[in-house]
């Protein structure tokens, strides 16, 4: 019996486990292979929905579903203490869970994601609002809907963070929301970004800088967040600049999962050193990494994890079934970028082809919403 273990049942882990189970259906049926997903939680969250929740454009309950219901029936699922991984022992090809049990593997997929660090920057936890988790997104919507005027600051604390386009999206959605409400003249919007420009890819930066200027959004960059002063209601950068706020909408610092650091598999921020083509963890031929977990200089996005799942599932199944033939990941990423409450554009690129975002339109906005709806029914279940 060959054991395939998938660490993390979020977006990447769920999709890859379903794909592996489809490819190894005969082996699983014959008792020659098994696929098991481990997650702390028995709930699956669709994080892209949190952006829409924070702007009142999606119901909170529509962003979550029981993980078991989106997993292929052939995939085993462990959650709670049985699914919380406390240590990965790469030398002995095993992992330990919080219930004290040890699980051996032949192939391991790391998809433990990226995690928000509210305590890394002084004053941040007390002063910053965010839409990066569901509870905070719900709180943020209450503040946005009752905001009558003043200064909104959208601040990205540091790189890298998941959904790199999210700061652009929330800024342009806030702008449009207050325009439609008829009080945009009473709302000042400031955008603070830790690297020069408003985005890292040159032609997206160019397009968005123009849109920001047209919409009257003030840009402060480079602005690497140093502290949040909750009593004076101002943020200060490492560069020494200060910006006042009434509402601070932030993208918190991120780190890889704690278990990665505790197992000696990551760098100082718990990102896993991963080959950008094979998606194998460097120095290991039986551990694959995907999604937000890796240290690859690529977007931490659900679409990245999805594209990577084709490669990882193929390579894992080929190892288990002994068919050989490795696939490689060409760096594909696709992200919609909301540019208002009813319009969007998108970027699609890979390692060698830069994105060329089309002019924003309502068609892409409806595509973004349609994708969100299809996620549960088709995508996570890998029916498309």
């Amino acid at each position: 019996m060959k054991n395939v273990l998938v660490a993390g049942g979020g977006l990447g882990g769920t999709i890859v486990a379903n794909r592996i189970a489809q490819k190894l259906s005969n082996e699983i049926e014959n008792g020659e292979a098994s696929v098991t997903v481990f997650d702390k939680s028995d709930m699956h969250f669709y994080q892209p929905g949190f952006l829409l929740v924070s702007m009142g454009a999606m119901e909170p309950q529509d962003t979550q579903i029981m993980e078991r219901s989106v997993l292929d029936r052939r995939v085993k699922f462990l959650s709670g203490d049985s699914g919380s991984i406390t240590k990965i022992d790469a030398d002995n090809r095993s992992l330990t869970t919080a219930d004290g049990k040890s699980h051996g593997y032949d192939q391991l997929v790391l998809s433990t994601g990226s995690h928000l660090q509210f305590d890394e920057i002084p004053g941040f936890a007390a002063g910053a609002d965010t839409f990066f988790n569901l509870e905070k997104a719900k709180e943020m919507w209450q503040k946005v809907r009752s905001f009558e005027g003043g200064k909104i600051v959208v601040d990205t604390a540091m790189m890298p963070h998941k959904c790199p386009v999210a700061p652009l999206e929330i800024t342009l959605m806030l702008d449009d929301y207050f325009r439609k409400k008829g009080i945009r003249d009473k709302v000042q919007i400031d955008y603070c970004y830790p690297v020069p420009g408003v985005f890292g890819i040159p032609n997206v930066n160019k397009m968005m800088t123009k849109i920001f200027a047209e919409r009257g959004i003030n840009v402060h960059s480079q602005f690497a967040l140093a502290s949040v002063d909750t009593s004076a209601r101002k943020i200060t950068s490492k560069e020494g600049e200060s910006v006042d706020y009434d509402l601070l909408v932030s993208i918190p610092p991120h780190k890889g999962a704690q278990v990665i650091g505790d197992s000696g598999l990551g760098d100082r921020r718990n990102w896993v050193s991963t080959d950008k083509f094979t998606l194998l963890v460097k120095g290991h031929d039986d551990i694959h990494a995907m999604g937000d977990t890796t240290d690859i200089a690529i977007s931490k996005a659900g679409s990245t994890a999805d594209y990577e799942s084709y490669v990882v599932s193929h390579n894992v199944a080929a190892e288990v079934a002994g068919t050989g033939g490795m696939k490689t990941y060409p760096g594909s990423v696709f992200c919609f970028i909301a540019t208002g409450m009813d319009q969007a554009t998108y970027i699609k690129f890979d390692y060698s082809h830069p994105p060329v975002p089309p002019t924003p339109s309502q068609v892409y906005w409806w595509s973004k919403l349609a994708y969100n709806k299809l996620y549960w029914s088709l995508h996570a279940r890998t029916m498309i």
Binding site: V195, F199, G200, R269, A297, I298, S299, V333, D350
Partner: protein, 79 residues
């Protein structure tokens, strides 16, 4: 260069949302003072941007080499 500890080497030859400066600033944030971060780049414009950025942020460029159209910069964290 002999005593310099390299914390990380970043391959920034491909497209990426954080951009090379985003990746570099993040790695230098985690590096200890005295350590260095290397970055591999595929074009001249990005190399020039990083040289300007290094000066502005007070990170010391200790290596600036090119081979077969690829540039390698090594930046040392000094404060």
């Amino acid at each position: 260069m002999t005593d310099l500890k390299l914390y990380k080497t970043i391959d920034a030859t491909s497209e990426n949302c954080a951009g090379p400066i985003g990746e570099l600033s993040s790695a230098l944030n985690d590096a200890y003072v005295g350590e260095a971060v290397a970055i591999i780049l595929g074009d001249d414009a990005t190399r020039d941007d990083i040289l300007v950025w290094a000066k502005r942020t007070g990170n010391e460029v200790v290596e600036n080499t090119s081979e077969e159209g690829r540039h390698r910069l090594v930046l040392k964290k000094v404060k």
